[in-house]
């Protein structure tokens, strides 16, 4: 099968490439150049252009070095101290980084300690000891630590949204304990959704909890006969 004949335009690209690479054109190209005068002229022009470029590049790349360069460099070398392996910058950098790390750790620890101490003082002032509250009235409930830290002094909040928990005591009437337990279980499991349950902590309630235990006076027991005698005339009166 005969190969497709190349046009002059096809050869032009190959000519430019040959001139750019500064290599001899291929045999096929040389044969074409022998036959085609216009391509020969174009190739000559290309070669001329690249020769001009090379001349310009040569002039640029081989510029005469000014005589002042070396004395200047030598003078600078004499002025500057002898180079040596100095560790001072490295040590300085390490020192700065270490100081920063220590400072960050210290500040973080300090804040944490402060928050914990605040939390302890808050719980100590706000929450009476669990022994002061009867067990039947005060079931322990796990609450969020962060929310508990933000509690207002006059309220007690029951929060179930956080993962961190803290024991907070809530007064619940004895008859409703089972229902509240069920609600809390639902909140923990995610069955019931609620962010905050707020229970008013009235002064009355706290006063009540500080009352002395109920004392019952001994009951006087009377014989039944006496009771029936005393009540008989009254019965007669009503019958009449």
């Amino acid at each position: 099968m005969p190969s497709k004949m190349k046009t002059c335009e096809d050869h032009r690209t190959a000519l430019t490439d040959a001139a750019a690479a500064a290599v001899q054109p291929s045999l096929e190209l040389r044969l074409h150049l022998d036959a085609c005068a216009s391509c020969r002229a174009a190739f000559a022009e290309e070669m001329q252009l690249f020769a001009a470029i090379d001349t310009g590049l040569h002039a640029t790349a081989n510029a005469k070095v000014p005589s002042s360069l070396f004395p200047r460099v030598r003078a600078q070398l004499n002025e500057r101290p002898v180079p040596g392996r100095t560790w001072a910058p490295a040590f300085a950098a390490i020192g700065i980084i270490a100081t920063l790390v220590v400072a960050i750790v210290f500040v973080h620890g300090h804040r944490r300690a402060g928050a914990e101490s605040n939390l302890q003082t808050n719980t100590a002032t706000r929450d009476p000891a669990p022994t002061e509250i009867p067990d039947a009235l005060a079931p322990a409930v796990a609450l969020s630590r962060t929310q508990a830290a933000k509690r207002e002094p006059d309220h007690r909040r029951l929060v179930t949204s956080g993962n961190q928990v803290e024991r907070v005591f809530v007064l619940i009437p004895a008859g409703q304990k089972r229902a509240v337990d069920a609600l809390l279980a639902g909140l923990r499991n995610g069955g019931a959704k609620a962010d905050v349950l707020v229970a008013e902590h009235s002064e009355q309630l706290s006063q009540d909890t500080q009352l002395s235990p109920l004392t019952i006076s001994p009951i006087e027991i009377k014989p039944l006969a006496i009771v029936s005698e005393e009540s008989a005339p009254e019965k007669d009166k009503t019958n009449r």
Partner: protein
């Protein structure tokens, strides 16, 4: 009350002497390299900046930096390549900053800085176009063109200096020349 300080004069002097000797040896070795490779640093800078004064400054800075790091250079035979890279990077930085400065200065004054006599003599019309076309080339192509155009540098040496494979150097050179020709075709006589 006087303080007594224990010193070891013999050892201190010995140490100082050793340090001085090492520094002198280092300086001698660097001086040899300076004479051999100094022009290379200047020409790389000059080829990129097209200004003799700027090129001299850059070459000086490159040589001083090379001296500062000379002790740490493990393979001293790589000094030329190392110096070329330092000079090239400094020249690129200088070119960028001078471009910014030029923009700032043209806002205040229309008169451009006058080129030196040497620059004027070297600048023909075609050379001007060539310089402009060179500026538009990618930096890595420009460096290959310059190093290949320098006297006494074969392509193998250029490849070794830049730490590139021979094929990469050849292709960069080819594309750079082709791009230059495309830009300069309309300016040829």
């Amino acid at each position: 009350m006087q303080e007594l300080v224990l010193i070891q004069p013999g050892r201190t002097a010995e140490k100082e002497f050793a340090q001085e000797a090492a520094a002198a040896a280092l300086r001698r070795e660097f001086e040899e390299r300076l004479t051999e490779c100094g022009p290379l640093a200047y020409r790389v800078a000059r080829g990129l900046l097209r200004n003799s004064a700027d090129a001299e400054d850059v070459a000086q800075e490159a040589l001083l930096r090379a001296y500062r790091g000379f002790e740490r250079l493990r393979d001293r035979s790589r000094f030329r390549a190392w110096l070329v890279r330092i000079a090239f990077r400094l020249a690129i930085d200088r070119a960028r900053s001078s471009k910014r400065r030029e923009v700032r200065e043209t806002l205040w004054s229309q008169s451009a800085p006058r080129p030196s006599t040497e620059d004027l003599a070297a600048t023909s019309e075609f050379q001007k176009h060539l310089d402009r076309a060179m500026e538009e080339l990618p930096e890595k192509h420009r460096l290959v063109l310059l190093l290949a155009a320098m006297q006494g540098h074969s392509l193998e040496e250029v490849a070794e200096m830049l730490g590139l494979p021979m094929g990469t150097v050849k292709s960069r050179l080819f594309f750079a020349r082709k791009q230059l020709a495309e830009k300069l075709r309309c300016h040829r006589k």
